[in-house]
């Protein structure tokens, strides 16, 4: 079933997810902060508004599928899955720890509910998503498939094999969302490997293309609806985003691609996010607040400072 949450609540959830991401990463001591923050709103719109899911029954046959092709931003997915009710939120703090289910990149066989396939080697998830979409078409099933890709990831040639194939098979049950934050590890997209013009590439492969602001929930939700209404071809939503969105000193900086905040940086980031949370309102669905031991003391002070 769809959660269909409104724009206001989606903003509250996204703020909570960003807080969770910072806390998970500071506790883990490593991970990908920049991309996790840029993709947050996309995943929140998908899980808390648009996708047909049943978090208590993650393998429900009628579910829509989400493949996180850019697997390195899994902290965002892990937080979304926890807050959507797939697994207990406390477990988020086991990110990247031996024996846990929250691997550094998503691992299907670790058994975390909601992880459909292992990803992390770029350029493969969109192919998997296409295979699922084709399989659903064969069986005339109505489920939809979503693949979330990075813009840097589109350098991989295999992505374009998959794009060609989805166009060929007219997979209108497939939507690809590009987290277009315009940065990759080594720098700007245009400097590392110029991907642009991007829209025209998809058009040439017989795709429907929608461009939107990837941090505007109204636009994101509308785009997902339009994609679903498009028949006879797959749709790509090119979502313009800001890497590190929500934390001023992380925003639009390539150096934050594969870095976790140190304790003092995490506190600084959380200060901004707590202020934002007070502004947009605390999400009532967040019943558990993460308390990473690495910043336990500072967090206590922060909670007091921002208590209503």
């Amino acid at each position: 079933m769809r959660m269909n949450k409104g724009v206001e609540e989606l903003r509250q959830i996204a703020t909570q997810i960003r807080i969770d991401i910072v806390k998970m990463l500071v506790q883990a001591g490593s991970g990908h902060l920049g991309g996790s923050l840029s993709v947050t709103d996309i995943l929140v719109a998908l899980y808390f508004n648009h996708m047909n899911i049943d978090p208590k029954n993650p393998c429900w046959e009628g579910r829509d599928y989400l493949i996180l092709s850019k697997g390195h931003v899994c902290p965002a997915l892990y937080a979304v899955l926890a807050r959507a009710g797939y697994y207990p939120p406390e477990e988020m703090l086991t990110l990247r720890q031996l024996g846990g289910r929250l691997e550094g990149h998503p691992c299907k066989s670790r058994g975390l509910p909601g992880i459909e396939v292992s990803t992390g080697s770029l350029g493969q998830g969109i192919g998997v998503a296409g295979g699922i979409a084709l399989g659903l078409k064969i069986d005339k099933k109505p489920n939809r498939v979503y693949s979330v890709n990075g813009d840097g990831e589109l350098d991989e040639g295999s992505v374009w094999e998959s794009v060609m194939s989805a166009g060929h098979y007219k997979l209108d049950n497939l939507t690809m969302i590009v987290d277009n934050n315009d940065l990759q590890i080594d720098g700007r997209i245009k400097d590392v490997m110029n991907l642009y013009p991007l829209k025209e590439k998809f058009l040439a492969f017989n795709w429907n293309v929608i461009e939107c602001d990837g941090h505007d929930f109204k636009q994101l939700v509308d785009s997902l609806k339009k994609a679903e209404a498009t028949k006879g071809k797959p749709t790509v939503i090119i979502a313009k985003t800001v890497k590190g969105k929500g934390v001023s000193f992380v925003e639009d900086k390539a150096e934050w691609h594969g870095k976790a905040p140190k304790p003092d940086e995490a506190v600084k980031a959380l200060k901004e996010l707590y202020a934002l949370r007070n502004e947009v309102g605390r999400w009532k669905g967040a019943t558990v607040e993460l308390k990473p031991p690495k910043i336990a003391k500072e967090l206590e002070a922060l909670e007091l400072e921002f208590a209503h």
Binding site: Y65, C107, K108, S109, E116, V117, S118, T119, G120, S121, G123, Q124, G125, I126, G127, V128, A129, G130, G131, I132, A133, L134, G135, L136, I138, D139, K141, G157, S158, E161, S162, M164, S165, H168
Partner: protein
């Protein structure tokens, strides 16, 4: 270890390519299970997957010359209950798309079957680019993956059916050229268990693929020299039959392995891993010695690269000699 004696002798054997066994195995699987689908990459007739395509046109999917996407899409198809067979040459299915095989298929432990056509130098005139000589090395190092290398037409058909009915990722290697058919419908085939085609006490030849027939011929010739040579068919490279290999080491005291594949990391290496960790006996490994293939007549190439019957006989004599000298 299953014992099933086979004598080649003066029999006139029919020659059929093992790839036809793959194609016919797919058709049989298609009849048994409607979820079996076959994916092709513009090599549908040369992998013999066209036999399935003709029988079940709605369950064959063309992916163009794009093996990476084909492999990832196979992963996706398996996630919605299909049993996809990725059908192309081994150099592409295990080479170009190795990362998809590793990360999407094996790491996720998906129920995907991967076919590797054109195994070995016996591919012939097409030359090195299309002669798969590395597939066993690069597949047997992948966790969760079953790796099979059957010996003739009938065994390839059985192996194709067996991997289709086994849960989890599987790779099957087969060849291009017609090769002698020396097993039949009734010859036993059990995944993960070696078959002893010939009893012997002086030495064991453990062979795989096209080399099994040659091993039998070599053993029969060596009998005339007074040597008793056991021949074992190791069709499942992974999981390897540890018990069967140890039994051969114990009972014959030395081993020759034979494969139409690079020596490094291949079947011989796999056998050596078992032998040296359990019961070290002298071993000779017959395979391609760190070279690329060449164009030429298939049979001449086999001889050129040291994969002929005479090479096997020499290796057996050498290893028995080493055994007699106490392994030196």
């Amino acid at each position: 270890m299953i014992e099933y004696p086979i004598t080649i002798g003066d029999r006139k054997l029919e020659s059929i390519p093992t790839r036809f066994g793959y194609g016919d195995g797919l058709v049989e699987l298609g009849k048994r299970n409607p979820n079996v689908v076959v994916l092709g990459a513009d090599l549908t007739s040369s992998t013999a997957a066209d036999r399935f395509q003709k029988a079940f046109p709605d369950r064959f999917f063309s992916f163009g010359i794009a093996e990476q996407n084909m492999s990832a899409a196979a992963g996706g198809l398996s996630l919605v209950g299909k049993i996809p067979f990725v059908s192309t040459y081994g150099v592409f299915s295990t080479g170009r798309a190795w990362d998809q095989l590793r990360t999407t298929i094996c790491y996720s432990n998906l129920n995907v079957k991967v076919g590797g056509a054109h195994g070995g130098v016996s591919v012939g005139p097409d030359g090195a680019t299309h002669q798969t000589l590395e597939d066993l090395s690069v597949t047997r190092c992948l966790p969760n993956l079953t790796v099979v290398s059957p010996c003739d037409y009938y065994e390839t058909k059985k192996a194709t059916i067996a991997i289709g009915e086994k849960q989890g990722p599987c790779y099957i290697r087969f060849g291009r050229e017609p090769m002698p058919v020396f097993t039949d419908e009734k010859t036993p085939f059990v995944l993960g268990e070696v078959t002893m085609f010939r009893q012997g006490k002086d030495c064991t030849i453990i062979a795989t693929g096209h080399m099994v027939h040659r091993a039998l011929v070599a053993a029969e010739k060596l009998e005339k020299e007074g040597l008793s040579v056991r021949v074992v068919n190791l069709h499942t490279i992974k999981p390897i039959d540890v018990k069967g290999i140890i039994a051969c080491a114990k009972e014959t005291g030395c081993i020759v392995t034979a494969e139409e594949h690079q020596m490094m990391g291949g079947m011989g290496s796999a056998v050596a891993e078992v032998v040296v960790q359990n019961l070290a006996v002298p071993m000779e490994i017959i395979g391609i010695r760190d070279r690329f293939g060449l164009s030429g007549d298939p049979e001449k190439l086999m001889e050129y690269f040291g994969l002929g019957v005479s090479h096997l006989m020499d290796a057996v004599r050498r290893v028995i000699d080493r055994k007699k000298k106490g392994g030196k």
